[in-house]
Amino acid sequence: MHHSHLIAELLKLLASILLLISFAMLSQRRTQRLITLFALQGVILFVSTCIVAYSAGLRELYYSAALTLLLKVIALPWIFNRLIHRLGIRWDSEPLVNIPITMLVGLALVIFAFGLAQPISMMATTITRNTLGIALAVILLAFLMMISRRMAVTQVIGFLAMENGLFFAATSATYGMPMVIELGIALDLLVGVFILGIFFFQIREQFESLDLSNLEALRED
């Protein structure tokens, strides 16, 4: 009993760190740092998934933890790092909304997410159930980040952070989706990032920049 209590505490701690990282990403302007933070999120996910796998005794979860490590901690940050080096991106330009306001909105979102998740997480049988609210908050914060940024790369990192939140939600609420689905999701993600990579080059080739303000030609009026 004491053992599982400890694990639950540990998971809560990890979840809190995840949330903290989300906030950090929301306020971070340097692309390089953003990638690091993203990788850190991956690490946290990996650790928490392993812990959940251990405590619940589910072998599939180890696979998905490994997948996370492989994909989100190693592969994607590596790809991104290479990309920004080759594309020469270092700074995000000024965000659309200034950072203090973003943070305040983020705070409100966290409260909203917690309120939303509370009644649901009560029903869950998993030891990670309390963290569903945090997962939702991570998703919403990532969404906010995508809204408030200008650069294509940052937007994509926001997108991936959202994916992280989803993954976290899956493990916390249900001990993860069935393996086939996990694989499918991972494949889609990988292909998606691959396509994104292609896009970055095409966009830069056409527009000489990855600033999204170039991509506002298709509009009404």
Binding site: I120, M146, F199, L215, A217
Partner: protein, 483 residues
């Protein structure tokens, strides 16, 4: 077996075309593979007619009256679009907008897209449905950016991000669904996400969770349906992608996404026992119809115009599903069918029209009946059909939807009336000068493949005055299933 063929043939096609897609015969191969898929789909349909709904491969795949007609429709429109794209893409190549390498990409992605849609339609697993939808998005992203122009890249980027984010919401919804299912079904293998199982126990699923799940699923898949205000990717993608892609996006992908929404709605409504999902669908439907219509009014680009028209029609279909009941559901299914057929035929005609005029701007397209009567009449009749002019089938469904709305929710009819009226004016005031009047443009170098246009329109016309009893029976059964 036929199931395997339906799923496998497009995949095989994608593989073959990835290898030979740059050759001269690639377009013919594309047509051939599509035809083979169509035949396989026909076999599947025959089997379902004969033996009723079926489950396959550990219940991972489901064929019932709801999806089998969509499979048939998808295979059919896929086939006719392949026929159309053969001369169309050849002309594009001659105009220097494409090269063989891109054609290879186009052909293989086209087949992959078809495969993804078949998977989404046929799977019984809500998770797999998500995966297939995402795959469909990814394959079309590359198709939308095929021309590698600034505009097409921008459209593809927006499409990718908006649908990606949307679909991420759908994933969260799926997770919540799974979470609720676990409570009711336990965690045994993969059954917890199987739609048939969920449907069987939907009364026991936790209503509050399902309510939230539905929101996420609706926002997620609704983005792909093109419901306002989540629709913003749609007109860009339709306008900037190659025309065959616009045709299948409008004609098929939107249907498949809506299919996903409706599958979710059946579960959720059964669980929470209130009309909440229906209300949401009606609200989104009306909003999309009205906004779509007003957007239509101001369009300059022919494909964008019809893109918005798709939003409007998806709105009407969604509204009809929201109305519920056997009549409205029947009407919605009919509308899905006729909208696919009509809209794809319109895109075929519009594609050739803009090739003839050398521009997609409608100001530049004039007097089509003078240069090429078939293109002109195709566009004219297609537009009239999509505007709900009888005896075309679109009118049949609009008739049922409007009369139902008038009795059940009379408050909604002014909105529908405005939407239909404005859409009519918006489209027709553009189409008329394009089709009629004088022109000095020259005919196309290759004879356009307009057989699909008229075949589609003939089918739509037939559906307006006569519906084959088996088809009616499908629709009825599916309408009952949706409830």
């Amino acid at each position: 077996m036929d199931l395997l063929l339906v799923l496998g043939l497009p995949l095989l096609g994608a593989l073959l075309l990835a290898l030979f897609g740059a050759r001269r015969f690639a377009a013919e191969l594309n047509v051939g593979m599509s035809l083979a898929t169509l035949l396989a789909a026909a076999l599947l349909v025959l089997r379902v007619i004969r033996h009723g709904p079926m489950l396959a491969w550990h219940e991972q795949f489901l064929v019932d009256s709801f999806n089998v007609f969509l499979v048939a429709l998808t295979a059919f429109v896929g086939f006719t679009t392949a026929i159309f794209s053969r001369p169309y893409m050849r002309i594009e190549e001659e105009h220097g907008r494409l090269n063989p390498r891109r054609l290879r990409l186009y052909h293989s992605m086209y087949q992959l897209f078809m495969a993804a849609m078949f998977l989404a339609l046929l799977t019984n697993n809500m998770g797999l449905l998500w995966v297939a939808m995402e795959a469909a998005t990814l394959s079309t992203v590359l198709l939308v950016s095929l021309y590698r122009t600034r505009a097409s890249l921008e459209a593809a980027w927006k499409y990718f991000i908006l649908c990606g984010v949307g679909i991420a919401q759908a994933l969260f919804g799926t997770i919540l669904l799974y979470f609720a299912a676990e409570q009711a079904l336990g965690r045994e293998g993969m059954t917890a996400l199987l739609w048939t199982h969920l449907n069987a126990v939907k009364g026991q699923l936790e209503p509050r969770v399902l309510g939230l799940a539905f929101v996420f699923l609706l926002v997620g898949y609704g983005t792909k349906v093109g419901l306002a205000p989540l629709h913003n990717w749609l007109p860009d993608a339709h306008a900037e992608g190659p025309t065959p892609v616009s045709a299948v996006l409008s004609g098929l992908l939107l249907n498949v996404a809506l299919y996903a929404v409706i599958r979710c709605k059946i579960l959720v409504e059964g669980s929470i026992g209130s009309s909440l999902p229906s209300q949401m669908l009606m609200g989104f439907g009306l909003l999309s119809a009205v906004l779509g219509a007003f957007f239509l009014w101001r369009q300059q680009d022919i494909k964008r115009l019809y893109g918005y028209s798709s939003i409007e029609h998806m709105g009407i279909i969604t509204f009809a599903f929201g109305l519920g009941g056997p009549v409205a559901n029947f009407a919605a299914l009919l509308h899905m069918t006729v909208h696919s057929l009509t809209k794809s035929s319109i895109f075929f005609a519009a594609g050739h029209a803009s090739q003839t005029a050398g521009t997609q701007r409608m100001d530049g397209i004039r007097g089509l009946v003078v240069i090429s009567p078939t293109i002109g009449w195709g566009l004219m009749l297609g537009s009239l059909a999509i505007l709900g002019m009888p005896p075309f089938g679109v009118f049949a469904s609009e008739f049922l939807i409007l009369t139902t709305a008038m009795r059940e929710h009379p408050w909604s009819t002014p909105f529908l009336l405005i939407a239909l009226g404005v859409a009519f004016a918006g489209i027709f005031r553009r189409v008329q000068p394009m089709v009629f009047g004088e022109s000095d443009a020259r005919p196309l170098p290759h004879s356009p493949a307009l057989v699909p246009v008229f075949v589609h329109l003939a089918m739509v016309l037939t559906l307006g005055v006569y519906m084959p009893p088996p088809l009616a029976e499908w629709f009825r059964a599916a309408a009952r299933l949706i409830g």
